[in-house]
Point group: C2
Chain length 396, copies 2
């Protein structure tokens, strides 16, 4: 039969990255294409021990239906953590546990978006959430990303041009795909503009704890005096991605809506993994674990950036990320990175072309994203060498 697919899904293509994920099983490809955390960072032994204790002491609690809002001990732990370390204030805010950062975007979209509503997003931005918004038939409007955050003039122009804009989508720290961090000044300016033009902000911060250089910058949520910021975090990069756990912070007035949205979607998130996160954060050296993760990623980033500096043609530009998993390199303005990336894959090195991260995928894009968290040091050196040679062939 001929299927009539919903309008909402007509405009969503499969994620190039998720498709590439399958290709990466080929052990001969050096992959800078993924977005996985390094498996070295998973606290495997503690996870195994906490799990076996939980199944011994409270198996029913781990296996029976749980609450849609999340596992209370983890919710309290996260609220205390964000209050102490990030300056959050939970007087007017609430925190729910969700099934990964992706679901935070899905629930936010479900609660706020009507068909054809406009979402303003950094460009380039995270394809996963852009596709989530597309799946609600939202209209995406991109604002160019600079090394210190969105171009504020262009953001204001976009807000003026789209009076029906509902939501501003921002990844403030070590953005995916650019690795850029939005400055404190720009965070203030963005919040101010959001107030002025009456839009909500979804502040998506899956990488924030993985900072290996520079100083932390307060979240936009900490500037939020009128409850327009929904803040999303993730355990995927701090604990393990397959936990499928994240959290969402929002004004208490939204509790009934968020509860219903969660119930309609997957009822609740897995209890065992929520218990593990709670136990790990309260009884193990969570701070030390994060410090170790940051150290590892800092070393890998330094290695990759050093090799890129040595090997890449000088016409290829890139910034030094202060955390996270990614760096984006740019071929000279006007060039299209897609054939470059394709040739790289043919030579055994995978990266992701910038076109995967933009609103209008029909326009050529000169960026390509490299991931340094998963390849080995040898793969970083060898892979950058291959790509470097290619940059010289392209630009030489």
């Amino acid at each position: 039969m001929e299927y009539i697919i919903s309008d909402r899904l007509q405009g969503v293509k499969g994620s190039i990255i998720r498709e590439l994920f399958k290709l990466m099983k080929d052990p001969n490809i050096i992959s800078f294409g993924g977005g996985n955390p390094s498996a070295e960072t998973f606290p495997v032994e503690d996870i195994a021990r906490i799990t076996s204790e939980a199944f011994e002491k409270n198996p029913i609690g781990m296996l029976q239906y749980g609450l849609s809002e999340g596992y209370d001990p983890l919710r309290e732990t996260m609220k205390a953590h964000l209050t102490k370390n990030e300056g959050f204030d939970f007087t007017d805010n609430e925190l729910f546990i969700v099934s990964g950062g992706q679901q935070a975007a899905d629930l936010t979209a479900k609660v706020f978006l009507n068909e054809a509503d406009v979402i303003i997003t950094e460009e380039p931005s995270f394809i996963g959430c852009m596709n989530t918004f597309r799946s609600y038939n939202a209209k995406l409007v991109g604002v160019p990303m600079r090394p210190d955050g969105m171009d504020i003039d262009k953001l204001e122009a976009a807000l003026k041009a789209n009076p029906d804009a509902k939501l501003l989508y921002i990844i403030p720290n070590f953005q995916n795909p650019t690795g850029y961090t939005t400055s404190a000044e720009k965070r203030k300016a963005i919040y101010k503009l959001a107030r002025q033009y009456g839009v909500m902000i979804l502040e998506d911060n899956p990488y924030g704890e993985i900072r290996f250089a520079g100083n932390p910058i307060p979240a936009i949520k900490t500037l939020d005096t009128d409850g327009r910021v929904v803040y999303a975090g993730s355990f995927s990069k701090t604990m393990a991605p397959a936990f499928r756990l994240g959290f969402i912070v929002f004004n208490r007035a939204l509790i009934p809506r968020m509860t219903v949205a969660k119930q309609c979607t997957d009822v609740h998130s897995t209890v065992l993994f929520q218990h593990i996160c709670h136990e790990y954060m309260t009884t193990r050296d969570y701070k030390g674990h994060i410090a170790q993760t940051c150290e590892l990623y800092g070393k890998k980033a330094a290695l990759m950036l050093g090799e890129m500096k040595k090997r890449f043609h000088k016409g290829v530009v890139f910034n030094k990320p202060e955390g996270g998993l990614f760096v984006m390199a740019f071929l000279p303005e006007g060039m299209d990175s897609t054939p470059f990336v394709e040739e790289g894959i043919r030579r055994g090195v995978a990266t992701i072309p910038g076109v995967a991260f933009v609103v209008d995928q029909s326009r050529p894009n000169n960026g390509f994203r490299l991931n340094y968290s998963t390849p080995t040091d040898e793969q970083i050196v060898r892979g950058v060498e291959i790509l470097g040679k290619l940059t010289h062939e392209y630009l030489g």
Copy 2:
């Protein structure tokens, strides 16, 4: 600030049942209100052992990002299981693992529904999925449920009256909330009407394996020659609800759409629990485990129904379910069960009023749902006694 909530969520109220779930923590209330499987049925020791082996042998595989389609070994196991035991044919069909049966409904809605599309549903039906459809701004049209399935004449009338109907939602076995099973004849008639009027069918079968009386009836999916049936199953009642795992079977032509819908929602389901289901089904006595579960529920159902027969006023009618977790009792036609249920709760016994399961919640409803899987035998006897007394006060 004043939040502008999406139209889609304006019409969705919180699940009365999920709210009641909190109340059930009061140990003094005898709850026939839940929908939980009995914790006695969880194969705790095997789950614990498989988990510790998995963390020993393949921790990274359990903790790193997995595939959106699901964990391949479990997908293959489930396809073999459905082929052998349920007569499914995977020549033209595919199976994905999803985050519980609830997500099967969410993804189906995402793929097929436009705003204001009509969904025809059994009435009463499962509030969770009805709310999922409401969250896509679908218009629900109810067709009265009879002890052998939907009233076929009224189904045809509803299809005629709603030429824009997109989807038919059916729980064929031990339906929630009625406990009714759709007969083989009606399954054929429903499929035929769906073809004739060009609607898809979502066949939701979370309870199918929990049959303790009568003979299995082939799924509508096994009648499906043109790919219009999407079939959903769940591990919540056969393994453990907090796994948050289910599966969805659909025509292969829909693979790209279902993949994208899953990616946009929560990327993938937890790997460890998928591995546990696979290991349990292939290396443990799954058949024996299900037989034990069925025996337990059969005994509990028989006890509850026997007590209801003894204690309830003859004006209260109910049918004998052949499986599942629920029985629905009906006060005389025209009576409203809500004040009855409220008085029951005041006297210490929780049930769910029929109004929770209908399309138009403003009309009085005479049914109330009782769950027999979670209360103890003593609670069943005592709770039915209290409710029985109440029926005599109401109808005597």
